[in-house]
Subunit: 474 residues, 2 copies
């Protein structure tokens, strides 16, 4: 399937999943102040690209390319800022060349050549960065190469005894899961970008998966890394644990390509969950919902899903009428039934005033890459909305909307204040900058025993051509 | 209690817990080839210390001292190598001065002065290092200061909402637990050196606690660090989670004082466990015991204790006759009864041929800092032996024994081979080096889903005066 479909060059995901003009218009009508009809998506043929400043040497002609559509597709990540610039036909940030590494030797060759010729190299996995991670900024180099690792997508080895696998960095989420599934394993790391991001990207950015508690970050699944650095190839030992000096793996995690190019990793695997249950609780008061979420995060029950949607976010996800907060809960296990755990979670939610729906009793229907079993309506609605959001965002951007998200994290003693203060400041800022009310919502993407990660969404009406400046001001 | 008792200057722990001459002799008689009677412990008055090469400036006279007993007490850690050198009256490695920091300002002042005067500074917590961590080696500086932080031992703040506390780095294990206990919390980090090591030491060395699974390393309890570095005081934000760049906290963890002096940390706390159960299983075949241990480590049950003692180690701990391996198991929870978890663990052990004793049913009798509830004889014997071992080691050292341990870690696919190969190589080496058989035993100190940490003990007869050279050869 993945080979048949085309990725969007200007927006999120699959080209055929982008909202139609009609759908954009219908959706945009829900936000006051937007355009009547969407701005057209420019044809890639009409968009101007700067001429490449460096050429590929003959020795690397099979790897490096100045192909126009390659360069266009590697120009931006997938942030709101990126979509707006692409829609405006602004590809001035295009890399001079795109490298398609087939092997680690290709990576080394490209880096060696680039180093000798004062050319910057930006590692590129799935290209889903929403923080400018795939884009070179500045002018300190003679040229820029986007080093695409997506052809290095193999699970090279599975060690069933140690429950670990050696995986190439360029493997997209579904591609690596497809290779692990026949052996009964999963990496069980499902960021929102799962379909369009790679293992190497997750590692280089310290990605958080959508499981809400316990092992949520890719960091904890790393057994060893192999990295091409300026001084050679670094490979750490496969160790289940170590206290011998600072962890060099932890130094590469989050380094965003600045210290080297991750080419493969031994990753800890999980057995595929066989038992899943999910439910949701609604709360009239946000404070109660936060208290319930904290109690659950500190309960030692480690739910697979524990996601708090504030009233606005819940309504945006198609749950409720905007007056109640919704806490989506899920438990799962590869080993034993999880009914007891779910009932303890339900009790904790009820102790804090939560109204709990009937837990889903359909274990069989759980979906790939989901902590949510089918059956619970709110949980399903959340999941579906979660995957739809980026396409929705692109549709709103075409309608002139300002649509962006940002993540925060703080300890529980300050979570409620942060939530209320951020909402108030953002809503006020939206009024100041746009002259009208916008939507400012929040969900908690991850919860920890000592705190939570409130994640804010801002949707507001932009003035044509000024959207990015307005977002910067916001 | 801690203020009344005297620490041993030459060996482990409390001076009054050291084995008597009679006990040394009786214990030593169990190992062929040792002395008839222990070497005497030299009087500190008779031991020669090198003259200090640098003097304390007047401004720091309340902090820096060249007191002889202070310098002697700060010369060595507590490895076998350290004990042998101290018993031989060799304190040639003594620091020139000892600093007793009362505040972070003292730490800064000492580092500033030392930096200006080309003096090396070695941070010192409880002094329990067994890898030379408190000792300066080399001659690149004009002098050496041992910077003792044990006066900075306060829990400065407790945040019950976030379940975290700000704790000074010099607090010994019992000192910080005493301050957390009245509020119902525990750091729940109990390395074997618990009584004689500090939070700062645990952080600087990436200590492993004696809980066997899940959160065993101090790394996972760190919310933020405050560190005096050569370029200023570094303090990380209190964050429950982050993916923003590499974790700088993780860079300081394990840095052993080379990057700065940790002065305090916000640490994640646990509620004190209310439910505990323990049991043990014996196995005729080591391979079965390893398979059972792996199954449990990969079960997702997260036992608090899961410690495999090989036949020799079990016998040394006073459990069994040296023909069977013993797996000590413990479960605990602050929230709910753990009987069900224990029964699942027992089933897993039995599935792999384990003979399981009746689980302890005495929840009330669990001891401070123990994952073992009283009641199970083997579990209690293991715990008691665990705390006695370092004193035993000192007694054997006085009898001319070579007694040392070392830790390994590997993935499950190689654990059994490592175990057998290491035992064979070590036993052969002992015969080669000492001309006689010694004791070579193994226990697994930590187990992980992807591997284990086999920890080896070597006991052999040394030739007088050649013990360290023989150990080096081993």
């Amino acid at each position: 399937m993945t080979t048949e479909r085309t990725r969007s060059w200007w927006g999120w995901g699959w080209a055929d999943q982008a909202y139609s003009d009609e759908r954009c218009a219908a959706f945009g009508a829900m936000i006051p102040g937007l355009r009547d009809r969407p701005v057209p998506v420019p044809s890639l043929d009409d968009v101007e690209l700067p001429a490449p400043r460096v050429g590929a040497p003959t020795a690397l002609s099979e790897v490096l390319s100045d192909d126009r559509s390659q360069r266009a597709g590697h120009t931006h990540g997938k942030a709101y800022r990126d979509v707006v610039r692409s829609l405006a036909g602004d590809l001035s940030a295009a890399p001079d060349l795109v490298a398609r590494a087939r092997t680690e030797a290709d990576v080394v060759a490209v880096l060696d050549w680039a180093s000798d010729h004062d050319v910057a190299v930006v590692p590129y996995g799935g290209g889903s960065s929403v923080v400018g991670g795939v884009e070179y900024r500045g002018d300190a180099h003679r040229g820029v190469v986007s080093l695409d690792l997506s052809a290095m997508d193999r699970v090279l080895e599975v060690d069933p005894t140690s429950r670990a696998a050696r995986i190439q960095a360029g493997a997209l989420g579904p591609v690596l899961e497809d290779q692990l599934r026949p052996q009964g394993y999963t990496l069980r790391h499902f960021p929102q970008s799962f379909e369009f991001s790679t293992l190497g990207g997750w590692l280089a950015t310290r990605a958080g998966g959508h499981y809400a508690t316990l092992h949520t970050h890719i960091d904890d699944f790393v057994e060893s890394l192999r990295v091409v650095t300026p001084v050679g190839v670094s490979e750490s030992w496969r160790l289940p644990g170590s206290g011998a000096g600072p962890s060099h793996d932890r130094l590469f995690l989050g380094s965003e390509g600045t210290l080297g190019v991750i080419t493969e990793a031994w990753m800890r695997l999980q057995e595929r969950p066989r038992f899943k249950r999910s439910t949701s609780a609604t709360f009239d008061a946000v404070g109660d919902a936060i208290a319930a979420t904290r109690a659950i995060a500190q309960s030692g029950l480690h739910p697979a899903n524990c996601r708090l949607l504030d009233p606005g976010e819940a309504a945006m996800s198609g749950i409720g009428d905007g007056s109640t907060s919704v806490l989506v809960l899920g438990v799962e296990s590869a080993h034993s039934p999880v009914d007891h755990s779910l009932s303890l979670l339900v009790e904790l939610a009820q102790d804090h005033g939560g109204q709990v729906s009937e837990p889903s009793d359909d274990d069989a229907g759980s979906r790939e890459g989901s902590a949510v079993a089918e059956g619970d309506v709110a949980a399903e609605a959340w999941r579906s909305s979660f995957l739809r959001m980026p396409y929705q965002r692109d549709g709103l951007a075409r309608m002139g909307g300002i649509v962006e998200t940002f993540e925060t994290a703080t300890t529980w003693d300050r979570v409620e204040a942060l939530y209320h203060d951020a909402l108030a400041v953002l809503r006020d800022a939206v009024r100041q900058v746009t002259g009208a009310d916008g939507l400012v919502n929040c969900r908690f993407t991850h919860v920890y025993p000592d705190g939570a990660a409130p994640y804010f969404t801002v949707i507001a009406a932009g003035r044509p051509g000024q959207e990015l400046a307005m977002w910067d001001e916001l």
